[in-house]
Amino acid sequence: MSSPRSKLGSLVDAVGLIPDGTRLALGGFAVYQHPMALVRELVRQGRRDLTVVGHVNGNDVDLLAGAGCLRRVESSYVGLEKYGLALNFRRRVEAGELLMVDYPEVASFDRFRASRDGLTFWPCGYLGGTDILTHNAEIRAFDCPITGRRLHAIPPADPDVVVIHAVAADERGNVVVPPRRLLPQSLDITMAGAADTVIVTVESVLSRGDLRRHSRWVEIPSYRVAMVVLAPWGAHPCPVLGRYRGDDAHFREYVAASSTPDGFAGYLRTYVTGPRDHWGYLDLLGAERLTRLQEIGTW
């Protein structure tokens, strides 16, 4: 009897699907649940000229900006919430080295809905008067064919590759998103419907039997997923809801380091290019630090 192909791969394999110049969408929201292990591997592999298309971004974009991997960002927000401004991003944009394309927040969600729904635009009725229109020729005004109301057509997100970080999947690529979820996790589900190449990094890989017992919580079925990568603590220093909290001390160290280019180069050497891979990163952080971040862990 034949069995279906395993989609398990390594972070190096995953980055192999993301060549220089890729139009990339990263799951998570602000400082929550980004696929940071994958982001660090992009830096290790020296990726260049990436476009990140997102909705609400944070340390994911800031780390890539600081490491020189980005050409363009499309989002409604790049910042670190309670930890402050995204200083690498800020420096690159102010220097004219990184092209920023601003969209409103909900319109940014709708761009992924357009891609997921196979549409060539999403209508938006609230952009009039904003300078978002002044600087973005890809947004086109049109008159509603039903009512004649002036609307704007916003382009779909259309990422080449989507990467999200989830709590679990089986090796076939059935992804569990438990009911304990909030906006960031819900948006990950939308994003995972928006591209032909979807990579999912996971806290744990489930056996076929375990997966079938949790099938009501599978929000992304296997045929949507190109690769599954085991990456425990793979969102660190971001939190994963129900699994672990954000690492406040690490975020503060990150922000302090990113206040100067030299300081940030030191951060990259210590935490990104220094460790040989994600396991080396976890060894560097150590069991005690990681264990102290754990949540109760209820689904």
Partner: protein, 271 residues
């Protein structure tokens, strides 16, 4: 026993509370960091809770876009993250796994609160950049939800933690939320049929708008602030201030409810 005089935060919370009607829906995010958190989140929450305790028991507080009427009295500290465990585990009436789009997009939200780095005399706000867009002096976080707040919500309270010339400018460097350029007719011509800023709340005064003319005006000046200092701190002409009243103080009853029932442990409004 002498009741301590109201603090500025209490004065602003009470002033806002009086403007909320029963059965309205009010939306506030969790703004973080010092004065920004107090103006963007704590004062709006205290105002909405005071309104619920008095004339607006049916008011819905929609916090962070997903927690309806959270049990804020149980908090030991103001939450500083919109999507982490603290707020997730705080009891509330209805917890959403995404933004309620009927509210954010269809228009169920009667009022919201915005903060910005710049606001101009027609009420446009900016949280995107200072200086030229392509080579900014300061790149900020981005427009976030401001376009939606200033167009779809019924009315918007612009909460400004700082009131200096660099914040109150003749023209914002980037319009991320639209005020009344060209007045109400100007808004309609832009396709904005409702909404817009109701007032701008600062540490020095409260502005409202002449909507027809599309111009911000000083509605009241806070106790202890002189018209001269207000002019000095504002980068556009404020007109004749001689008949502008002092911001009316809370009644003893409002202050008592605020201190005894809304924020008994001073979690929201510092002393």
């Amino acid at each position: 026993m002498v009741t301590p005089a109201p603090t500025l935060s209490e004065l602003l919370a009470v002033t806002l509370a009086r403007t909320f009607a029963d059965d309205e829906v009010g939306f506030t995010g969790l703004v973080t960091g010092g004065a920004a958190a107090i103006y963007g989140t704590a004062i709006p929450l205290a105002g909405m809770m005071l309104a619920k305790e008095t004339h607006a028991p049916g008011l819905t507080i929609l916090l962070a876009g997903w927690s309806h009427n959270p049990d804020l009295a149980r908090l030991d500290a103001l939450p500083d993250a919109e999507f982490d465990e603290t707020l997730y585990d705080l009891p509330c009436e209805a917890q959403m796994t995404g933004y309620p789009y009927w509210a954010v997009k269809r228009g169920d939200i009667d009022f919201g609160f915005s903060s910005a780095v710049q606001v101009d005399q027609v009420g446009n706000i900016n949280s995107v950049c200072v200086g030229d867009y392509r080579r900014p002096t300061v790149r900020l976080v981005g427009p976030i939800l401001q376009p939606e707040h200033m167009a779809i919500f019924g009315r918007e309270y612009v909460m400004m933690p700082h009131h200096e010339r660099r914040n109150f400018v003749a023209r914002v460097d980037f319009v991320s939320g639209v005020g009344y350029p060209g007045g109400l007719a100007g808004r309609r011509a832009l396709g904005l049929d409702g909404g817009g800023p109701e007032c701008v709340v600062t540490p020095r005064c409260i502005f409202d708008f002449d909507r027809e003319a599309g111009r911000m005006r000083v509605r009241s000046i806070h106790p202890g602030v002189t018209p001269e200092s207000l002019r000095h701190a504002t980068g556009f002409d404020l007109g004749d201030l001689s008949r502008v009243p002092v911001t009316p103080p809370p009644t003893p009853e409002e202050l008592d409810i605020l201190r005894q029932h809304v924020d008994p442990r001073r979690v929201l409004l510092p002393g």
